[in-house]
Structure formats: structure tokens, C-alpha cells
Amino acid sequence: MRYLPLTNTDRQAMLAEIGVKSVDDLFIDVPVEARLGGPISSLPNHASEMAVERHFFDLARKNMAASHHPFFLGCGAYKHHVPASVDHIIQRGEFLTAYTPYQPEIAQGTLQMLFEFQTQVARLFGCDVANASMYDGSTACWEAIGMARRITKRHKAILSSGLHPHYVSVARTMAKYTGDNLDTALPTLSSTTDSARLLDAIDGETSCVVVQYPDILGRMEDLSAIAAKAHEHGALLIAVVTEPVALGAIKAPGEMGADIVVGEGQSLGVGLQFGGPYVGLFACKEKFVRQMPGRLCGETVDAEGKRGFVLTLSTREQHIRREKATSNICTNSGLCALAFSIHMTLLGEKGLRGLAQVNHALAVQAADRLAQIPGVELVNDSFFNEFTLRLPKEARPVVRALADKQVLGGVSLGRLYPNAPELENGLVVAVTETASAEDIETFATALQEILS
């Protein structure tokens, strides 16, 4: 077997050295009735590299790959061009096959990268500090709600109706066990968000207000008023960013008073990958740092006085605090954080702003073109690279019909809110730099045909 270096001669020599007759003697502590006599017969035996590759190739062909078609899906996962050097660097064995940097003297590469990543995330979000990443945006979001509970010692979390419904679902699952009370609502197919509802609901019992920016329908608005009202009542504002490229064009949540900003970092450096692995971003004000979940990298010096980096403030974490830890998280999303950081370094501020501008310009052109189709109406007043259309009929079958025409044309709100008939005509369309003018035209033509 190609992954196993021991030969039968080695095995015999080693067994003799240990002083046992056969490998079975090393499994004597397994009760006889639980020992399997041989390979599990319902499963196939080993296969060559070529055979395995062929199997996957056959399965991969059964999927419509985003790059092969006009593609307009978003809602928490975005297709951006990932520069070739990103994937090259993350496949270097020293990054790919390293572990969590527990021995800092021989992990400065990962640690320095994490320090740079933390700084990039903090600056992008307009916050003081950021951690070394979480699993994804949705888990980062509920970790933030839990953190707000620990800080405020209150249990009422008010969730904007524009928060991604899967993020709401995750928070709901967790809230059942942590005693948080979630104040939630469904969005409406209109250009106005529910900030009035949020402002009304904030009171002395509130731990946090959670607002997605831009929201699930692509809408966005200044968060300052919500931040001010929350702070007046001793509550925190948590902002959720599912499309970090937007922050190359629009104000950072931290600039508008958000206390904790979390997000999904998949847009930069990490491909779509059918939903994972992604990378959760987590940033906050410095005064809350000891309540943060997850790994943190900090600067220090070595015994010769040279600058170096270590994991720090570990006493918050499960391996020391056990049941009193801020979170049970152990592994983070290191390699995806690396990909994010490399992509951000390649872009730089100039490239990020340029990329955001291209996304916005294409989205504006697409929105205007699609809204010309009879019966189709643009819901948003403002948007970045994602907007919602109201179709004259249920959007879900339209999306399937578009796929039949080889166009991956957005996410129907019926998929995300299956029990809300008032939303079923909604179609959320994302337009990134990967969409060409021809793609937009192909999409518009196909949509018009389906609707007529």
C-alpha cells in the first residue's frame, strides 16, 4: 500500500523486538467479541491512485461548476477570482502539513501569518483586534452572541430580519441550550430594512443587536443609530459581514460603532467548495479581548531579543479552562485564513478598492438590465454587489429553469425561507468581477424567456 512504509520484514523484526508473536497480541485489550476477524466485507478493498482519481472525475462531472456557466449566486458564499499564487502557496507542505503552532520556535511562519491576518481583519472591519479565525461566518455569529451574553450578563439578543436565515438557524439551535432569547423576524420584499423594529426592541435587558451588513437581500444602511441606542442601554452591536469585498467600498462596521464584527471570509482566497471549509472572521473592541473565543496570536521577543510570535491569552481556551472556557473551539480555519491573507496581500488597499468598484459597477449594470425585463422589479435602493429582484412568479422553479438553460441565476428566497409565501417571488442575485457583460446578457435573455 503506497502510504505505508513498513515492509513485512520490518513488521516481523519490530514484533520480535517488542517481544510478541503477532500484531494481534498488541490488540489483546480489545474484548474478543469486539474484534473484527478481517477486513469489513461490505466495503471494497484498496484502489490505485488512477482508479480513485477516475472515480472522483466521474462524480465531479455530474456537478455544474460555477466557472463553466454564467453564475450569479451569493447569499453567504461568493464566487471571486482567486489568484493562482494563492493556491500555490497554500499547497506548500510547510503550511499545508503543519499543525497548530504549539511550538513557536518552529512555527513562526504560521504565527507571523496569523498576526498579519489578525491585523488585516481588524483594519478591514474597523476594529481594534481580531482573532486567528473561526470555522465560518455562521458559527462566528453565534459565538459573538454568546460573547455579548458573557460581557453584558444579559440574555436578550435582537436579530435583524436581514441576517442570513442559516445564521439565524444556527443561533437558534445554540440559544436553546445557552438560555439566550432571540428576537427574530422575517424580512420583507422591500427596500427598507427593519431598523425601526430593532431600535424599538432595544431595552435594558438587551445583550446585543445583530445586524448583517450588507444584509441577506443586499440592502445596507448606516448602523450608527442602532449602535448609539444599543450603547445607551448597555447593549452591544454585533455586525455580520458575509461579503468582505464590500468593505473595500462601504464604511466599516467598526467606524459606525459596532462592538463586535464577525464575518465570512470565503470571498477572499477561498473557493466556493459547496459550502466548506470556509473561514470565520472575528474582530472586536480591545476592551473585550479576554471574552473572545478562539485562538489569538501575539507579538513578543525570544531569548535573544528577536521579534517573534506566539499563541497567547490561552487561558480563555478549552485546553486550560475546560468547562469554564469562552468556547469549546480548538481547531480554527488556519489554511483558509492563510488563503484569505495572501489574497488580501495581493490586493492591498488599492486592489481591494478597485475590486469593490468593479463588483459594484457590474452589479449596477446587471440590476438595471434585469429590471428592464417586463414584470421584474428591483427591490433595493442601495446595494453593493448583490440585490434582490421581485419576479412576477415564484422564483424557485425559475432558478431550476435557468439551470436547464445552463445559467446559475441567483438564489431564490423560497430556498432560504421555505415557509414564507410572501417571499417566494424573491430572487437574490450576486454579481462579482467574474461575471462578464455577455454573462449578464445571457442571464437576462434566459430570464426573460422563462418569464414570458
Partner: protein
Amino acid sequence: MNALNQSGSKPEMGPSGDAKPATFTGNRALMLEEALIFEIGTTDTTGVDLPEVGRVASRLGGLERNRTIGLPGLSEPETVRHYTRLSRQNYAIDLGFFPLGSCTMKHNPRLNEKVARMAGFADVHPLQPVETVQGALAVINELAVWLIELTGMHGVAMTPKAGAHGELCGILAIKAALEARGDPRSVILVPESAHGTNPASAAFAGFSVENIPATSEGRVDLDALKARLGPDVAGVMITNPNTCGLFERDMKAISDAVHAAGGYVYCDGANFNAIVGRVRPGDLGIDAMHINLHKTFSTPHGGGGPGSGPVVLSKALSPFGPLPFTERHADGRYSLVEEETVGERHPRSFGRMTAFHGQMGMFTRALSYILSHGADGLRQVAEDAVLNANYILHGLKDTLDAPFAHSGPCMHEALFSDDGLADGFTTLDIAKGLIDEGYHPMTVYFPLVVHGAMLIEPTETESKATLDQFIGAMRSVVQRAKAGDPSLKSAPHYAPRRRLDETQAARKPVLVWQEPDVAVAAE
């Protein structure tokens, strides 16, 4: 003769002998120092070219970001060099032996990377119509079948994002099952030797955590466990093989006792590599167990993730597993059970744990590894992993204290204590000495039940020659620690950095870069 080219001559040591001069750059040949991107990049540099698009009137709602963000950029060549230089300051499996106990640092086959990057998997969106992702769903389903068969369990939740997330999944399934029968049990029993994530996960779900004592053999004390069981105990979380490297002989009896008392059995599957293909946890009465795909099934650790932690579930707990999951129909089509169909298909689910369908990129890699090995190869994996660990235990037990060597063969990892080192010498010194020898140290100070614990897990992907050399190096470092060699106290000497000041890092945390003038002003 002066004209003769001397470059082919034998090199001479100059008059200064082997004194090492300081270099202008601070570099030492291939050991290259690298500044931070904030020190070498600028906000007007970029390493990307963007498509040209026509200008449009902004629809950003007056939210334009006008202030400088402070994100430096580098050109592509500078970027590649920056990260390549950083990478060379990392130890990795590709470079050498990485016996980090309980972490299963085995070889990461590159076929896994290749298949995961096929466009049909890497470039599909999680919310595409299911008709357009049948191959992706087939991969999830195929891996699920393997995990169920290999563990002898009833069902599997594929979405948990890492081992600790899987633990939470299992604990939430137990909580949901108890709630469904109106049973307010509130205590989870956890052995002291458990990973810290176990009590943290149980506490998150609102359980109180109590310790289970161990016997002098390093195994769960069955009698003490039985004595503690009662109507308030929701379940136990047991790691098997445990973190002392031992198989829990009484596992079936533990499960039977817990079930008889109305509780559930969670098994931490971090150490499944020791028994894959030889023992099925389902035959031991386990109700839930997470499987770290990045351990047993060779997906890369990536410097700390991403992991993936599917949870196999017993018949009793399967109805409570999370959303979404894949379903295979008689005609060979796959569908997804999400919120929409949960009412009819999976009404007792405890809900969603993450936005999408789990770590697809890890599923492809793990399945590629599993198919390569097959049922026969995976059995050999466990055998070689256990053989290698016992070889190390045997090779070191006369030099280092092996507190449980009397308890029978070890499984996939061998545990030692710091007993017998010279005064003032610790496990940490041994670890740092191993760095100079060119190894990544073993897990240190875990499990907590052994003083100065050293937990060595070689895995099956190491050759006998590698193990022989490691045993020799370890014996040498241990002898230095026993003899009180002061140079060991200041090891490592040859790593990119000497020992780092963690106290300073924690007392005055510097977690982000600040421009020097800002940093000075803040002092």
C-alpha cells in the same frame, strides 16, 4: 601558477577558524528573516490586475468608505517570496517526524489535494439547485456510508466543522433525546484524562461536568463510574483508545451500565486511527462519536485547521441529528433534507449547526484516502500505527518513565512522564532539545493525569528507520536531561527563534500591527 583557477581546490578554514560572523542582513544563508507585510508593502501596491468596467453612478446609499483602511499590498513576486520565506520557518509533516500525541500527524497524500480541486467540487455553490450538484451529494453520501460501516453505527451527521464542533453535535443530540422523553438529566461524566474540549462542549450545552476517576492502570474506574450513575446522569464522554494510549477494556460494560441507568455514551473519536478496521465502536455500545477527518483520514492540518468532525450516531440518537443531510432515493438521485422538508423527513432534529453542508473540501480528501486504502488497507493502518507506537514504547521505556507500561500494550501512542530527570529539568526542555534534533516534539503536559506528560504518536506513515533514529535522538536528549546538561535548558539553539517570552505576550498583548509612530504614542 598565479593564474590557476583555485575554485576546484579543497576549501580551507580561514584564520578565524569556525567563529560565526554576524551578517549584515540578519539572515544565515538559507535561514531568511522576513519582515511583516506592513513593513514592506504599501497601500498603493497591488499584485492583481482588474477587469476594465464602465463607470456607473454609485448606489452605495451614501456609505462610501472614505478613510484609509491601512491594508498594504505587494506585487505578485514579492507576495510569493514573502510567504515562501515564512513557510520555511515552519516544521511540517512533509519535512520530518511529527509525533504529536492525540493529533495523528500522518502523511497527507497529494491525490487528496488533486481531487478536492476538481472544478465539480471546488467550484460549486452550496445553494445551487440540487439537480446541479448530484456528484457533490454523492461524495457526501459515499463518505457517510463508509463512516457508518467502519464504525458499525446507525447514522452520521456530516456537518460539524471540526472535532470540537462534532462533540457539541453529539452532546446536543443527547440533550435533544433527553428532552424528547421529558428527562431533565443534567450531569455529564468525563474522565480527567479527557481532551479539554469534552468538558467545554458539555458545559456549553448546559450540563454540569463531573470527573470520573481512573484506576492505577490508567483506565476508567468501572466501579466508581457505576456508583455515580443515577437518574441525574445524562451520559458519559469517554475517549477510546484513551489519551494514556490505552484501550478501555471495559468499554462495553461501561456502555451497558450507562444505558441501564438511562444515560447515553459519547465517545471522543480523536484516536480512532488505532482501531479503524479492527474494532467498530458500534459493537461497544457507543451512542455518538465524532471522527476527526484530519486525523484518521489524512486531511491536512493546515497549521490549525480547517478540520472536519462528522459524528456517527446510534439508532437511539440518529433521529435528533442536525440539518442538513443528504438522502439517496431509490432511483439513484440525491436530495438534501433542509428546513423545508425537515417536518416530514426529520421532525426531531435539534437544528442547524452551520450555514451550509459541512466541510465538503475535507470530504473529498477523506474519501480519496479511504478509497485508496480500502477496507484491507485501513485495517493495516491501525495495525501499523499500533505497532509503531509499541516499538517506541519498547525502545524508550528503560530510559523514560512509562507509567502505564504495566497496563498492557499501548495502542497508537505511548505515554511517558518526567520522572527521573535532573533537578530543574522538565518535559519542556526535552521538547526543545528534540527541536534541535530536527523533530517536532511530542504532545507535552497532556494528559493531565501524568506529571510532565510526554505523549508520542508516531502514526503508520513512518518507516522503521525513522523510528530507530528518533528513539536514538530521544535517548540522547533524555540522557542530557538526566545529566543536567545546561545547554538543554537554553534549547533550541538551531531553530529560527530561541525560546519565546510568553509572559510578555500575555501581560501586554500586542495582537495587531501598529505603525511605529502610533505604537510609540500609545505607550
